[in-house]
Amino acid sequence: YTFTKVKLAVVGIGRQCVARRTLNAARAVSRGFASSELEEESSTSENELYDIIISGGGMVGTAMACSLGLDPNLLEKKILLLEAGHKKVMDRVPETYSTRVSSISPGSATLLSGLGAWDHIVNMRCKPYNKMQVWDACSDALITFDKENLQDEMAYIVENDVIVASLTKQLQSLSDHVEVQYRTKVVKYTWPRPYHMAESIPWVQVTLANGKTLHTKLLIGADGPNSMVRREAGIPTVKWNYDQSAVVAVLHLSEPTENNVAWQRFLPTGPIAMLPLSDTASSLVWSTSHQHAEELLQLDEESFLDAINSAFWSNENHSELVETAGSVFRTALSVLMPDSGSARQLPPSVSGIGPKSRVMFPLGMGHATEYIRHRVVLIGDAAHRVHPLAGQGANLGFGDVAFLTQVLSQAAFNGKDLGAMQHLLEYETERQRHNLPMMAAIDLMKRLYSTNAAPMVLLRTFGLQATNMLPPLKEQIMAYASK
């Protein structure tokens, strides 16, 4: 049957083709195996492959490590936190307050209490406040935020050191699968190719200053506004420097008072804020031009205190035009809505500053256009940096932590490769949707209040007064800021 013979011959040729291709493929594969084995032998053993490495152990990085460590779906994963500084342990709270504080929103407080760190914070030191008053230096306009009955807490002022120490304490209880390396600096990151062929290692390689190389399936960059992870990954960032620096200090009040209001006044040079720390102490955050900030640091204590008090109390920036226009508008509004509106209160006067507590740092805005790459994700200030005027910087970071943990937990539950882009994209979309409007609003506020030109002043005066008279709008703003 010649047909069969022909067919067999054709098939024979086909099989030879197959064999040749298989041989080529096998050669490529074995080359790949050889090179990968070499790489494995020379650089690391199996023990150095982590599931997740978090680079940066500040508030947000440590919170991320805790959050991942406590998640039930991630119990079998190897997690490592790398921090360049030393371990922050606080057995007893120091007498003096530290100068760097953060306003912790209820949403962040919920996250921290879920991590078990909130109890430590409350036991150490934290100050809830019930009301916030924000007013203009160029007019009488003001706005106050508070919860309905002034009994509920709006937010909390906590020192940054206290937060980090509480989270570190929680991390110690997770030491079986979350490892922390302090005093560890990273010198180089090597990125993997998106879908690996035979020759390359598919993991992120982290080279430390001590020469060791670690591999990880997912790298989380929590290394602050000058993030090395972001820089090395080549992620373009939209950023600019505000020509402002913030001066921070701890202030002692003239007399003890029920200190549960946060005060912020917008001067033409920048906002000055007084945040309660206790009944006798408050924290100062004064954002002003670089030059003025330096001058403030040079002043002796008395002059510095005078400057603060006059910044809060004096009305020298008021102009007649604006005052008249403002009061007319206020009368008109009170006709429409007789019940709303509030009297302007003045913050407590200060009579002393904490020892050696005046410092300044520059301010800027930054936003990474992408929060993720293959096997890399940015959280906290590495992804977004804001002006402190709204007290939202730390809260945005904690929001990142909560959502990223949720995304990674679900991915692990579905057996996915943790570094895969699909679920990281979900994180990026959701967080950018939340962060960008907030950052735009903060930037807008900063620019709006940086001038004392009459038209802008009138505009913001009317705007502020109108907003103050609309409780639903204020509630919306507070809800958004509390997330």
Partner: protein, 335 residues
């Protein structure tokens, strides 16, 4: 997906049918017409008619079914399994449905033994594993996965991909072999068998069902995802997916080979399974994502459980055939 067209040779029984068909038609380079005539119903009929004449050639060498053009096309694809935006993108995104489907049904049966690695202690066989797209997530969840595929290049790709991850290296093993070869060694060895996007590339489902029944422990689960045989699946699954939108390469699927869930359920029940769940799936080409849906008109997923006691196989198809063909036919199926 389309590597599974070589599931034919996996079961070796198409050998006689194509042999028969090709003796009737001339071999054309248009594989499609050959394949469409080699639908399993047609082949069965051919087999019965010619069985007396060609009984000795039943076990014709399987390499007569190797089509060099198909093999070449497939070899080129063997390295593309892990390109998430390449030809296999739809398979990768199908994991979002099939992995939870398998995981949840197995957990319902076996209970949660271990938090973190939920499927620890379960042995799963992935038939037609290709590059390991489905085997890896199952392995990450703690199961002991054994993936088989007749195409060696795919198995090499799968092994290479899982070799970097120490977790997977221990959990997931691959072998280039056929289900029949495996069924001889591994009787009642597996807690679950997964045959995702495989059944529509096979010629003889009876042999497949029988082998599955052999390798599964009593009470073990069989998970199948495949395509329904309806006019809608022709329009969307073949015309739209292959020719218009190019979601899968042209020529991947043959509509004649699709099987409806009712037919598949009947078949499985005749082999000692009871079908526990059937759910419809739908691919959204705009988002590239799969979703569950009420209708099983296009894609569907099926979960069957092997009955604990061995029933008498009752061959519905044999009713239409003459009596004396039954015994040799049955004997061959179980050999």
């Amino acid at each position: 997906m389309f590597c599974k067209k070589f599931g034919r040779l996996a079961f070796g029984l198409l050998a006689e049918s194509t042999y028969r068909c090709q003796s009737i038609l001339k071999v054309s380079s248009d594989g499609r017409s050959v394949r469409s005539l080699c639908s399993w119903t047609v082949c069965l009929r051919h087999r019965h008619r010619n069985q007396l004449l060609h009984h000795t050639n039943v076990r014709t060498v399987s390499q007569t079914t190797l089509d060099p053009a198909e093999v070449r096309k497939f070899q080129a694809m063997a390295s593309k399994w892990w390109d998430l935006h390449g030809e296999f993108a739809a398979l990768h995104s199908m994991n979002d449905l099939r992995v939870p489907f398998i995981r949840d049904n197995l957990l319902n049966i076996h209970g949660v033994r271990h938090s973190g690695k939920l499927l620890t202690g379960l042995r799963i066989l992935d038939v037609g594993c290709g590059g390991g797209v489905l085997s890896e997530p199952l392995g990450r969840m703690g199961a002991d996965v054994f993936g088989i595929d007749p195409v060696e290049d795919s198995v090499r790709t799968a092994e290479l991909h899982s070799s970097y991850d120490p977790d997977l290296r221990e959990r997931v093993r691959y072998q280039a072999c056929t289900l029949e070869e495996l069924a001889e060694d591994e009787a009642e060895g597996f807690d679950a068998v997964v045959a995702s996007e495989v059944v529509e590339h096979l010629a003889d489902l009876d042999a497949f069902a029988s082998c599955c029944q052999q390798v599964l422990k009593p009470g073990g689960s069989l998970f199948i995802t495949t395509i329904n045989k309806t006019s809608l699946s022709y329009v969307l699954g073949i015309v739209a997916a292959e020719q218009l939108l190019r979601i899968v390469p042209s020529g991947t699927h043959d509509w004649e080979k699709f099987i409806s869930p009712e037919d598949l359920e009947r078949l499985l029940e005749s082999f000692g399974f009871y079908v526990e769940a059937i759910r419809g799936m739908m691919y959204n080409p705009l988002t590239g994502a799969w979703g569950w849906q009420q209708s099983t008109a296009i894609n569907y997923a099926l979960h069957a459980i092997k009955r604990k006691e061995e029933p008498q196989p009752d061959r519905v198809w044999a009713e239409s055939e003459s009596e004396n063909l039954d015994e040799p036919h049955q004997a061959r199926s179980y050999s």
